[in-house]
């Protein structure tokens, strides 16, 4: 960084630190001297390891964000949620039905939803969490799968739910049910698996494996490329 660094004050678990204003929360934690063990994963917004709860001094409202995806703000009080003791049903995906009853069997608490929408409000991915729980209640598994798709399973929704629903585990069950039972399997894929098993390509592969380096290069450089 060549530019001058403007510092601002944040509170990490109540303790004050001066950090550059351009940093994300994660970089600010490290700048302050923390070598993270928990609360840090992919550093790119995919893994959900760094769910962070914060409040700005003088404001009562609790806000959230992924530490790697949220910039620091002046007088931010922050703490991370590195783990949430959520319940997960264990099931054999090959022996289920894609119905509302199936989801209700594993997660009956979804019907205790009181419609407070705290889950949606807290979701750092901006998902309509309460909405997809509604879809699950009504057996609209396709819509539940679609709406929950971008979930990173950070656990913030479950941490706020007065009905103690574990939304993200409902979401993955719905997605697996949808993909396995409601979407047709790819016919071309099954055919190809059978062809490989029956040895259809063994000869062609053997030719390539034993080809001379020059022959292989020639084949590669002259191969036809499917038009974009």
């Amino acid at each position: 960084m060549t530019q001058e660094t403007e510092l601002l004050n944040i509170y990490i678990m109540g303790k004050s630190y001066q950090v550059p204003a351009s940093l994300t929360i994660m970089n600010a934690l490290e700048y302050a001297g923390y070598q993270l063990v928990r609360g840090c994963g992919c550093r790119a917004g995919f893994c959900g390891a760094c769910a962070t709860v914060y409040r700005i001094k003088g404001d009562y409202e609790l806000k959230v964000g992924l530490a790697c995806q949220t910039k620091v703000e002046p007088d931010m009080y922050l703490a991370q949620l590195p783990f949430f003791p959520a319940q997960k049903a264990e099931y054999n995906i090959r022996e289920l039905k894609a119905t509302a009853e199936q989801i209700a069997h594993f997660y009956p608490e979804i019907f205790r939803c009181i419609g407070c929408n705290a889950c949606t409000k807290i979701c750092p991915q901006d998902l309509k969490v309460m909405q997809y729980i509604g879809y699950a209640q009504r057996g609209q598994i396709d819509r539940c799968a679609d709406e929950s798709f971008d979930c990173v399973m950070c656990g913030l929704c479950a941490s706020r739910c007065p009905a103690q629903i574990v939304h993200y585990n409902v979401g993955i069950l719905a997605r697996r049910l949808y993909s396995r039972y409601l979407v047709p399997p790819a016919g071309h894929l099954q055919e190809r698996v059978a062809e490989v098993r029956d040895g259809k390509f063994d000869g062609e592969i053997a030719v390539l494996m034993t080809a001379s380096a020059n022959d292989l290069k020639k084949r590669y450089n002259e191969r036809d490329i499917e038009p974009e």
């Binding site: 550059p20 001297g33 992919c42 790119a44 997605r175 698996v193 062609e204 592969i205």
Partner: protein
């Protein structure tokens, strides 16, 4: 952080040429042109970025300094007293690493009837797998075949790949995809169930399958859910700091380290699978990386000390499109799918200078050349230089809404910092992405150390000197399954001798005998050190 007025001004040049570029066709480079750009601009060719190893199986082979520093370091157990016969875990198969390869290996090992333990340094699923957005290759369409896939893989790898591993990769690919589909991974499909597929860099057929742009995340969360459903034992925040061998030099377990309490624990196993991933967090040549926090190459270190052979560790993959702006997401992976959907790299004058779908090494080198030799890069106020990636082209080519539908993660990650990639191009620069090499394996994931297996990015040989997009998600599933299946089956016939760390003592003696200056370094690194950095 939205684009500054200066950058906005430059953006008008990109917009001005867009229609013309949409009409035209930019030719791919010829074989000699590719060779030229690689030799002159690929970071692997920078002579003083590597050095020859001073000891071990690969003595004399060149590897990046950052890795050599760790291979030429002492064990973390140097001054630790351990009772190796005091077992905390005693299992059939020990899987080290909780990414996609580790999860697949654990599932398949258990299917062989083995008692499996999976340990992982961070959370289960914190791995490069979750970050792979673009796709997974498999030759499953009518105009494609495993042989065509084979040719793409081996050509992309500059004909250096181990043929048997390429055969395994391409022939197993359809079954690997079918396995994931059957487990309920939500691939993007047509109404009738046909898998959607597009091109990736270096593919000759449209065989890149995807789950929107959360492909790796979808595969990881499905496999993780399955591991949990099957009651497999998983211990998180537990790394392996050394392998244990028995008296005959066979792998027989590991010394584990509780990342939170700092205690060491002994795990005995009949077979061991290293699935520890890559090493982007070693920041070779100071590059920013797309890798997850734990990618410190631990498996390479402990495997090498135990006598396993490395291959292709002098070749690193730089992803052509890491984010160069905004600074908060420097190095963030911009999926190759963006180019697969039609976005072109464009220089400061708004001119295209390379076909968007060259192989990654060629594409990255062409971008570096455009900036370093031709001076056509765009400089930001932090001093970072990049070129544009013209994402708005995608909606023009495929219709409005395509970007938001196909690239929701990208849209979100840029929007968080004030850049709207539907309307504005991204600024990019190559980022350290993938360890092409690793510990050399055979078709069943075996190393030259008996009962030691490797799967995933930690393994070497499959991709030769350059991996194609979509072959890493494929590789972790194919070789994770192969290693798990074999290690699980073999374990039944293994009798483990007395656990020993003699190889570590011998390694230390060799360091001293060769007069290697370890500079106080210990390895594996376990976690990168980012404290007190201002960016």
């Amino acid at each position: 952080m939205t684009y500054t007025p200066q950058l906005r001004e430059l953006l008008t040049r990109v917009e001005a040429t867009r229609n013309r570029r949409l009409q035209g066709y930019f030719p791919r480079l010829s074989a000699p042109e590719k060779e030229d750009v690689l030799k002159n601009f690929h970071p692997d060719y920078i002579e003083d970025s590597m050095r020859a190893l001073q000891l071990g199986v690969n003595k004399g082979d060149r590897v990046p300094h950052e890795l050599a520093d760790l291979l030429e370091a002492r064990s973390r157990l140097d001054d630790v007293w351990l009772d190796l016969q005091q077992l905390k875990y005693d299992v059939d198969v020990l899987v080290i690493g909780g990414g996609g390869a580790g999860a697949a290996a654990a599932l398949l090992a258990q299917e062989q009837g083995a008692n499996v333990l999976l340990v992982t340094k961070l959370r289960f699923g914190d791995a490069n797998t979750v970050m792979a957005q673009g796709g997974i290759q498999a030759a499953d369409k009518a105009n494609d075949s495993p042989a065509v896939h084979y040719l793409d893989v081996i050509g992309g790898g500059h004909f250096t790949n181990v043929p048997e591993l390429v055969r395994a990769l391409t022939m197993d690919a359809p079954a690997a995809l079918r396995w994931l589909e059957d487990l309920g991974a939500m691939f993007s499909k047509e109404e009738d169930g046909t898998m959607k597929s597009i091109h990736g860099g270096g593919t000759s057929r449209k065989r890149m399958h995807f789950a929107r742009d959360y492909t790796g995340a979808e595969i990881m969360r499905t496999l993780r859910d399955e591991v949990r459903n099957r009651g497999l034992r998983v211990v998180e925040f537990c790394s392996a700091v050394e392998l244990l061998l028995d008296g005959e030099g066979k792998a027989a377990g590991a010394v584990l380290y509780n990342m939170e309490t700092g205690e060491y624990e002994i795990a005995r196993a009949k077979t061991v699978i290293l699935a520890t991933g890559g090493s982007g967090r070693l920041h070779y040549q100071g590059f920013p990386t797309t890798n997850h926090y734990g990618a410190t190459g631990d498996g390479l270190i402990i495997g090498y000390r135990a006598g396993a052979r490395l291959a292709f560790m002098d070749t690193i993959q730089y992803h052509p499109t890491g984010a160069a702006f905004p600074p908060q997401i420097l190095g963030l992976l911009i999926t190759e799918k963006v180019r697969g959907l039609g976005a072109e790299p464009v220089n400061i004058d708004g001119e295209q200078f390379v076909h968007p779908l060259e192989t990654r090494d060629v594409e990255a080198s062409a971008i570096i050349r455009e900036i370093k030799e031709r001076g056509k890069g765009v400089v930001t106020e932090t001093g970072m230089v990049g070129v544009w990636l013209d994402s708005p082209m995608i909606d023009i080519i495929h219709g409005p809404g395509t970007i938001e539908r196909e690239l929701p993660a990208m849209v979100r990650q840029f929007a968080r910092f004030g850049v709207d990639i539907v309307r504005e191009p991204m600024l990019i620069y190559p980022a350290l992405h993938y360890q092409n090499g690793g510990l050399l394996i055979d078709e069943n994931g075996r190393t030259n150390v008996e009962n030691l297996y490797v799967a995933g990015e930690c393994a070497g040989g499959i991709h030769g000197r350059n991996r194609l997009m979509g072959n890493s998600l494929l590789d972790i599933v194919v070789f994770g399954c192969r290693a798990g299946r074999h290690a699980g089956a073999v374990a039944a016939g293994v009798r483990v001798g007395k656990l020993q760390l003699g190889h570590v003592t011998a390694y230390h003696r060799q360091l001293e005998a060769d007069g290697v200056d370890t500079g106080g370094r210990v390895a594996p690194l376990l976690l990168p050190r980012y404290t007190h950095r201002s960016q």
